[in-house]
Structures are given as structure tokens and as C-alpha cells.
Symmetry: C2
């Protein structure tokens, strides 16, 4: 394959720029061509200082303002599901395709602002990062926070994750745990000599089926927890009563619980079985009641709501930077084959952010 040098026109309207970004494939781990295109476009802008870290790009204004804000977005997508390249409907209202909502429409808004705002009222750091949709260890924002934390120093951060054009505060934490049912092997012809671990795992599934989600209100926003089996495996051979069955669960917990509290809750809920915590990430309280987050919410308007999915807002929270999600995409259809974004919210988000950064 001959590499193609994609050229991005930052003067194109947000919706058209979104389509152009979607059509440069960038499944996690394969962001190179898109990062190249974004880098070339940013380096043409004389008011920005551009640095590259792997396939992550950082572009900063340096106007010596008292306040600095970060506008951040990831440039990778989940794998294609027969939804690439993008496709407009006949009225050019709705753009379908992988990454339209999550989150190349947000990246388009970032790029449009980067090009248009040579003299913003606050200094701005634009971050375009890789590998958000995969293991935390490969996440470009995580790598920046480890390798070049000074690039993320700011008074406030906006992640342009899909939020339907509404300010979404905080985020829920997430952990995965492996719960193991044990039994004793036997030949299936004399199964009463053994103990079937898969049958035993039925009680683990019963716990999941009868679980009632908490919906706590934190800093004025209502969260909605989730607890799901995301994998199950067991079995030795077609004629053997299996002695082990592992159910992997994903617990999405509201930000009134710490990681430690969430882990203790899961260990307690499944106290009848060995529980191994596989990974976990903290939530972030919304913090919209005061400070720059409250100022931002007032500036862009609307009624803030709770962010249910885990986002890198939590990573900023760990760095001590208040952060919110605010982007034109629709989170409910992210990661689905039918993912789409509408044109108007892309323009509206750009206008609201422009007003905030130029008022």
C-alpha cells in the first residue's frame, strides 16, 4: 500500500471537517496517518507551539494569560463494523460512520478553534491523543501525564467526548473482576461423582440478575451504576464435568465511591467465591458547584448532567485539574454499528466554545 498524505482543510465547516477526519481510518494503534495530517495542519498555524509524542499532538497558545485551559480529544476509534467510510444522508443532516460521535466531531471542533482563535481570552492547550479505546497503559493522555505532565498543566479542562452538546460532569469509575466458581472433575457418564463448576456459576449469574443499580446524587447530578458479566468461560472437554468456571464482571460505579470502596463492594457481593480484581479506574466527582467548571457550565448554557461512562476526565481529576465532558457527539450510540452525528450540534458546540474563549 502506498501511504497517502491526507490534507485537512481547517477552513471547512465543522461537519465537513468531521467527515474528512472520519474518512482517515484510525482504529486504536493505527492513528499514524491521521496524526500526521493533524500535525501538518497545526504546524501551519503560527500562533501555536506544536509538539508530538508518539501519535499524540499538543498545540499551545502562549499569550501569557493568567488562565490556561485544555481542550482534549482522542483521535482513535473502535474497530470498523461495516460503517467506514462516513456517509451523509440526503439532507446532509446526519453523518454516519465509525467515530462520527466518538469523537471525530469533537476533534473537528478542536481543530476549528485552534485555527480560528489566534488570540483567545485564555491560553489554550489543544491535545489530540491516541489509544483511548484500548488498554489504559497505551492511552496517549495517560502517557502524556506520565512522560510530560507539564503539557497538561491548566486551570480547567474540557474533553470533547460525545455528550450531546450538554455539559457532563464527572464520570463513573470502572473495575473488572474475575469471579471463579470451583467444582470437581468427573466423567459426565457419572456426573454425580463430581461437582459441576458451570452449574455452580449459575449462582454468580443469579447475583448479577437480581442486582439493583444504585443511582446516587453526587454534587447535584444523578449517576446510574451498572454491573455486568462481560465474559464467561468454563469447560474441559465434551465428556468431563468441569471443575472451574470464570465469570468476568464490569462494575461501573458512581463517583461517590473510591476505587477501594468499589473493590470492597464487589468482594463482599461475591463473598462466596474467589474474586480477583483485574483492573480499575477511579471516577471523578462532577465539581460543577464552584470554580472554573461552574463558570464554563454557565458560559455554554444548558443543564449539566452526570457522565455515566468512564472518560479521561478522571485522569485530569488525578492531576488536580477540574474537567468536564462537552462535545457534539451522542454517547448512547458510540461503539455501535449505527453510530452517527448530526451537523447542527457540531456547529453549535464550536459557537459556544468560541463565545467562551472570546468573551
Amino acid at each position: 500500500m502506498v501511504p497517502v498524505d491526507h490534507d485537512l482543510d481547517l477552513h471547512a465547516e465543522g461537519p465537513a471537517l468531521t467527515a474528512a477526519l472520519v474518512d482517515i481510518a484510525s482504529v486504536s494503534g493505527e492513528e499514524g496517518p491521521l496524526a500526521d495530517a493533524i500535525e501538518r495542519a497545526l504546524r501551519r498555524l503560527p500562533h501555536l507551539q506544536v509538539t508530538r509524542h508518539g501519535n499524540t499532538l499538543v498545540a499551545r497558545t502562549a499569550r501569557g494569560k493568567q488562565e490556561r485551559v485544555v481542550l482534549a480529544g482522542h483521535i482513535d476509534t473502535v474497530p470498523h463494523a461495516a460503517n467506514f467510510p462516513s456517509q451523509w444522508d440526503s439532507e446532509r443532516v446526519r453523518l454516519s460512520g465509525v467515530g462520527t460521535s466518538d469523537m471525530k466531531s469533537g476533534v473537528a471542533v478542536q481543530l476549528r478553534l485552534a485555527a480560528a482563535l489566534a488570540e483567545p481570552n485564555r491560553d489554550v492547550t489543544y491535545v489530540f491523543y491516541e489509544c483511548e479505546e484500548v488498554d489504559a497503559a497505551r492511552n496517549g493522555l495517560y502517557l502524556l501525564s506520565r512522560n510530560a505532565p507539564e503539557t497538561l498543566k491548566a486551570d480547567f479542562a474540557v474533553l470533547l467526548e460525545p455528550s450531546g452538546g450538554v455539559v457532563e460532569g464527572g464520570c463513573q469509575g470502572t473495575l473488572r473482576a474475575a469471579i471463579t466458581a470451583r467444582g470437581a472433575r468427573a466423567h459426565t457418564a457419572r456426573s454425580w461423582m463430581g461437582k459441576n463448576a458451570i452449574h455452580e456459576a449459575g449462582a454468580i449469574l443469579d447475583t448479577l440478575r437480581t442486582w439493583e443499580p444504585r443511582r446516587p446524587v453526587v454534587d447535584g447530578l444523578e449517576y446510574h451504576e451498572g454491573l455486568n458479566a462481560v465474559a464467561v468461560s468454563g469447560g474441559v472437554a465434551g465428556n468431563v464435568v468441569p471443575d472451574e468456571c470464570v465469570v468476568t464482571v464490569n462494575y461501573r460505579f458512581a463517583p461517590d465511591r473510591s476505587q477501594d470502596e468499589a473493590q470492597a463492594y464487589i468482594r463482599d457481593l461475591f463473598a462466596a467465591w474467589p474474586v480477583e480484581i483485574l483492573d480499575s479506574a477511579p471516577g471523578a466527582r462532577p465539581g460543577l458547584t464552584s470554580g472554573p467548571a461552574a463558570d464554563f457550565a454557565r458560559a455554554v448554557g444548558g443543564t449539566p448532567r452526570a457522565k455515566l461512562g468512564w472518560t479521561d476526565v478522571a485522569r485530569f481529576a488525578e492531576l488536580g485539574v477540574p474537567a468536564v465532558n462537552y462535545g457534539p457527539g451522542i454517547s448512547e450510540i458510540s461503539h455501535t454499528p449505527g453510530e452517527y452525528v448530526e451537523a447542527d450540534p457540531i456547529v453549535a458546540a464550536e459557537q459556544a466554545l468560541t463565545a467562551w474563549l472570546t468573551a
Copy 2:
């Protein structure tokens, strides 16, 4: 690895020969070295006509007798479970290791008879076959019955499967079926947008957990059915509500049910879900009330009982050859890490069969 030519001493006592056979690893599909050793030993015996079919060996006397019987046993084992090579206890009463009961002790008896009985009172066909512990399509006896059915022609057959030195009549049938719970994918952060197929599969496991086995009496022998999950799998990714979960079950059914009846029973029991029958094999009624099976049972003594496991007795039944299980191993501990066999029953089985074939 340098291939080793194993040498079998058929003059060694049955228990010692069993240990020698166990110590030539022969997990299903890897029977070559053991088949080679058995072939070399058989070809040294001038009263036998030996043919090889893959890793299956057939050795026949040809004395022109009116009656011909088959003595058959498989030479493969299930995978090792830290129970290889074999180990004697300090009194040399108990030999532990993979395949000791199922069924290299039976194979040892076959080989001892093959060597000792140059002039049996009935013509004898000894069959040592491969791949009994895996897919029916690879079973050496099945392949013989398809490719060289004349080699199995006989008036009666004894399978030296583990039966605790008791004549076991008939066998239970077996079928495997895949039962699929379906759901709808969603991001786990908003799991209520989807439907968790693994949680749905809990109801399949409930059916298994509450199932009561039938114990019908057939031709005077009591059978004992079994229904077990032998595999379960489901899961898309660590943050996705899964849309499919497959439970594979193994139904062991008494020989008063045909394969068709057994399949209909399973489809009915799991009528709420799609059921795919993966494979099935019929049972065999014990038929110990008359004919050569009754004669054999009288000759070796003891009280016959029902065979619960599926064995190739059913394959002989399909060929119209009455057959029973009779071997020194213990079926209840087959396929377990603690599998063993005792020395005395190996000698006793050899003596009883010698008496029957020389009276």
C-alpha cells in the same frame, strides 16, 4: 526429541505390563509410539494375522472355528493431569496414573491373552484402537467399521473398558447440544440500553441445576441419566454488554430412549432457546437375557450391572454384534487426576477370560 522404540514384554505379568503401557504416553491423536510397540509385539506371535489401520491394530487367530469373538480396547487416554508416568504404591497393590483404569489395564489383558492363547476354543479378533476419547469421527473402531467392516465380523464382542471386573451390559447414549442465550450489545456504562446474554444464560443454568435424573430399569438393569454443562462461553470485550452466550450440554441417556427421542427431549427442555445438536451416539440395551452375552456372563460369573458411560458397545450393537463391557479398571475414577487400578483385578480378568476361551 529422539523417537524411542519402546519394547513391550508380553510375558510380564498383567500389572507390570499395564505400567509399561501407561508409561508410553498416548493421549488421543498421539498414539503412534504405543501403536508401534503393540504392533511389534503382536507381529512376533506366529499364530496371529496382524493388520494396521492408522494407529489401530487388528490381530486375528484363524483356526477355522465356528464361533469368533472380538476382544477390543482403545489405546488412547485423556490428557495428562500431573499423573504421568505411572506410580506404584509401596505394596504394589495400586498403580496410579493416566489411563491405568481407562483402559491400559484392559489392553494389558488383551495383549496377555493374545500372546498366551495360540489355540483358543473360539477364533479371536483382538482390536487395539485409537482416538476413543475424542470426536466420534476420529474413533479407530468407527473408522474400522466404515473402512474394513469385515474385520469386526463376530458372534460376540467384549470391550475391556473399565467395569470393575463385573459384566456391564448395554450402555447409555450420549448427545451434546449447544444452547444459545441471545441479548443486545451495549456499552457497559449504559448497560440498560442492551440486554446481557450471559445474564440470560443464568436461566439455562437454572434448568440444569434443578434437573432431576431419570433412573429407568431396562432389561433388568438400572440406568442413571446425567445432564451437564460441559462448556460455557460468552463475551465481546471488557466494556461491552455481550449479545451471545453459548452453553454446551452433554446428555447421557438410558438405552430405553433412542437418539431421536433424546434429542426431542433436550429441544423440549430448552424450548426457550435455540438448540443445536452437536453430536449424538445411541445407547445399547443390555441384552443379557439370552444368547452369547448371557453365555459369557455365566462363564465369568458375578452379577451383571448397567453400563452408564457410553462405550463402543453401542457401535457393535449397530453392526449387529452383541457386546458387553468387562475389564479390570474402575470407571468411576476414569478421567480424574487420581485415576488408578489395582493389581489383583487385572490378574483376575485375565484368568476369567482365559477360562472362557480355553474351557
